[in-house]
Amino acid sequence: MTFAWLLRRFFTVLYTLLVVSILVFGLTQILPADAAVTLLGENATPQALAAVRERLGLDDPAWLQYWHWLSGLLQGDFGTSMRTSQPVGPAMFTALGRSLMLGGASLVVMLVIAVPLGMWAALRRGKAADLVSGLVSYLGVSLPEFVTATLLLIVVADQFQLLPATGYVAPSEDLVDSIRHLVLPVLTVSLIMVAHVSRMVRSETIDVLNSDYIRAARLKGLPPSTVLLRHVLRNALLPTITIVALDVGYLLGGIIVVEEIFAIPGIGRALIVAITSRDLPSIQAGAVIMAATYAVANTLADIAYVLIDRRIRYD
């Protein structure tokens, strides 16, 4: 892996964040509502409003406001929340940490289920097992997260009282209870991703199974288990990395809804609160952080891919 390649990836990430920040900033600036009014309320005096506008630089042209915000960002200052008057950064990052836990767990659960499921469906192609898994996947992809979440809540939390419905418990407080609270949210997020990823793993594996080199391996008299483990697995796993990387975006979107429904104080929930309360700095910071997470995840996937697949030239 050349330094030039890494440098290029790094600049790509930077460009991404730049575009995202401009986009989000631009979109939120269309806001007709006056931020000062939002802060101080409808009954504030014109002088107070003017003072706030002055302080927040709301009268500056848009690009100047953007520049102020960006330079603050680069120094680690994410601005002050209009809702809580607290610095945005720490709150957002703590929330991000919780979301990463949820997301990470979901990713792991998803991989553990989807990859073997997809491969198994490929091996049993055309048979009953494949069709059933196909049907279930179809269903999985057609259910929005909020539907899955709600149905799970009804069945598991309500009817059978197996797990707590909503809420969050930090692992540092009580690990077992923390896990119990995470089960349903993780299940919801992973279910859709399992449906998605397992179909793709299936089609990748089918391609590998039909390839000339697998046929050559079989015709060398190698037993099926050897063919599968030594020859098929590696080639089917490689594209899986790309598939999973693409799904991270999906994951982040799903997290927003799931955190809302299960009342988990992660970055998704923070964003919804920020959006509904028109807390501009929080919206801007949250969006950039989410985009950064996505960009970093993709870069890690690229690096992993390049390390594993020897065919790729890093230029």
């Binding site: 030039a4 390839s211 000339d212 080199y213 697998i214 046929r215 050559a216 391996a217 079989r218 015709l219 060398k220 008299g221 190698l222 037993p223 050897t226 030594r230 020859h231 590696r234 080639n235 490689l238 697949d309 020897r310 065919r311 230029d315």
Partner: protein, 525 residues
């Protein structure tokens, strides 16, 4: 002694969407120990299906008719269980595939893929198997076998990979090896070397072999006996030296007649040395200059050639020689440095190619599948150049007839035509403009040899009627020796030789040209 392979009355069907199609019909053949049987057939003849049937690796929709016999020595292959087959494959019979770049697992080292056969069938330990594998690779004339073992397939050339595949096939000293067109995917010279290797190994090991190919000339040189397969039936079987001199069956005679024989000239006229097109110092670069690395060497380097009115100029070379890049430069599909002159008028660059130039210079591409727009009917495809160059759309039926296609084809879509038919439409499209020069970029390469012969015959007929010149690009030296007035030989982007038939006869040719000629198998007898 009992034959190594016995196939008796074997019939095979493929079932698709409820209907079944007979692919092999009562095939009977046998191979004695140490003998090489060549199996020749065109596409759709079923030759590859026979190979799969013998290796017992047929696709899921294959149905074998009852009663057919497949025996390897004393073993009834059809009755063998899958566990038994696992011990037979690789050990008693093995296979060499057509395309070495897809036959090797890209994520495993070469060494692993050779040694695993030895571990499996000869019971060697991993370490001993590795060592034995190195010896096997040495035996197939690979340089630095130990180093090659550690590398991955994409780090080896086509010729090296095919040697690895052959080494793997020979590794366990099988009784029978099935060769499925092993040189088709390789360059001419590389393929010739592989055939030499095959000859040597065969002499050393006395292995029996089934050599499958579409190339009758090649098979006749390699095999002891040749069987001809037409649409699933064996129509003739004869010793190799007789198949060309005295073909018995009509189909065999048809195949033999279609094989290009360099001594048998198809074009006998002379051409006046009046320049039609002149290209000077053409250098075609690859499209993208990579960002942080030095530029790749140009695809063609300072190529100068001229084509005379009504002449057939052949360009031969292996892949990477730059011959297709010339075609792209001359038709404005690639940017180039250098100058082109058409009938004295100089054309500055690709952008300066005006309508008159484009009418005069037409091109027919190699792959019939991608050269016709799948969403346009044949009539649409032919109407466009007619409209552009002042022809009459009403002449489409006549145009189709010129290329020996029924007028009713005008309403058809490309996917409803065969490969040869699509190529004819592409030729008709080129001729619709009434050009002075038609560039044929390897147009016969993907075609069966009999279809190739009919397309060549068509081209020559059109030339007689219209006086068109051809720039005939191919890797088939025998074919070009039949039709070209002059031949240009290219290697690595440069012109290596320019010769006419006289020079060829007198032997005034470059050493590389000599190598190419030696590597192109001509029919025996």
């Amino acid at each position: 002694m009992s034959p190594v392979l016995q196939v008796r009355d074997y019939s095979l069907d493929y079932v698709t969407r409820g209907s079944s199609q007979r692919v092999l019909q009562n095939v009977t053949l046998s191979i004695e120990p140490g003998e090489v049987l060549g199996l020749v057939g065109e596409s759709g003849s079923g030759k590859t299906s026979l190979a799969w049937a013998i290796m017992r690796h047929l696709p899921g929709n294959a149905r074998e008719a009852p009663g057919g016999v497949l025996r390897l020595g004393d073993t009834d292959l059809r009755a063998a269980s899958s566990k038994a087959l696992e011990t037979i494959r690789g050990r008693r019979m093995s296979m060499v595939f057509q395309d070495p770049s897809t036959a090797l697992n890209p994520t495993l080292s070469i060494g692993r893929q050779v040694s695993e056969v030895l571990v499996r069938h000869r019971g060697l330990s991993e370490k001993n198997a590795w060592r034995a594998a190195i010896e096997a690779l040495e035996h197939v004339d690979l340089r630095d076998p130990a180093g090659l073992m550690k590398r991955y397939p994409h780090e080896a050339s086509g010729g090296e990979k095919q040697r690895v595949v052959i080494a793997t096939a020979f590794a366990c000293r099988p009784e029978l090896i099935v060769f499925d067109e092993p040189t088709t995917a390789l360059d001419v010279i590389t393929g010739a070397r592989i055939l030499e290797l095959f000859g040597r190994l065969r002499a050393e090991t006395s292995v029996a072999a089934l050599y499958i190919s579409h190339d009758l000339a090649l098979v006749a040189r390699v095999a002891d006996r040749v069987a001809i397969l037409e649409k699933g039936r064996i129509v003739e079987e004869a010793p190799a030296d007789r198949i060309f001199t005295a073909p018995a069956h009509e189909y065999t005679r048809h195949l033999v007649a279609a094989v290009p024989r360099p001594e048998h000239r198809l074009v006998t006229d002379q051409v006046e040395p009046k320049d039609l097109l002149r290209a000077e110092g053409i250098a075609v670069r690859y499209q993208h200059k990579p960002l942080f690395r030095p530029a790749l060497p140009p695809a063609t380097d300072d190529v100068t050639l001229d084509i005379r009115r009504g002449e057939i100029l052949g360009i031969v070379g292996e892949s990477g020689s730059g011959k297709s890049s010339i075609a792209r430069a001359l038709t404005g599909l690639a940017d180039y440095d250098g100058g082109i002159t058409l009938e004295g008028k100089s054309i500055g660059s690709a952008k300066a190619m005006n309508r008159a130039y484009r009418r005069a210079v037409q091109i027919v591409f190699q792959h019939p599948d991608s050269s016709l727009n799948p969403r346009q009917t044949v009539a649409d495809i032919l109407a466009r150049p007619l409209r552009l160059y002042g022809g009459d759309v009403a002449t489409i039926p006549a145009l189709l007839e010129e290329v020996r296609l029924p007028a009713s084809y005008a309403g058809r879509y490309p996917h409803q035509l065969s490969g040869g038919e699509k190529q004819r439409v592409a030729i008709a499209r080129a001729f619709a403009a009434r050009p002075d020069l038609v560039i044929c970029d390897e147009i016969t390469a993907p075609l069966d040899v009999s279809v190739q012969a009919s397309v060549v015959e068509l081209l020559l007929r059109l030339r007689e009627a219209n006086g068109t010149a051809y720039l005939f690009i191919t890797h088939d030296l025998n074919l070009v020796r039949q039709v070209a007035h002059r031949i240009v030989v290219m290697k690595a982007g440069k012109i290596v030789d320019v010769l006419d038939m006289e020079m060829l006869k007198r032997g005034e040719i470059h050493s590389y040209t000599r190598e190419l000629i030696a590597a192109s198998p001509t029919p025996v007898g």
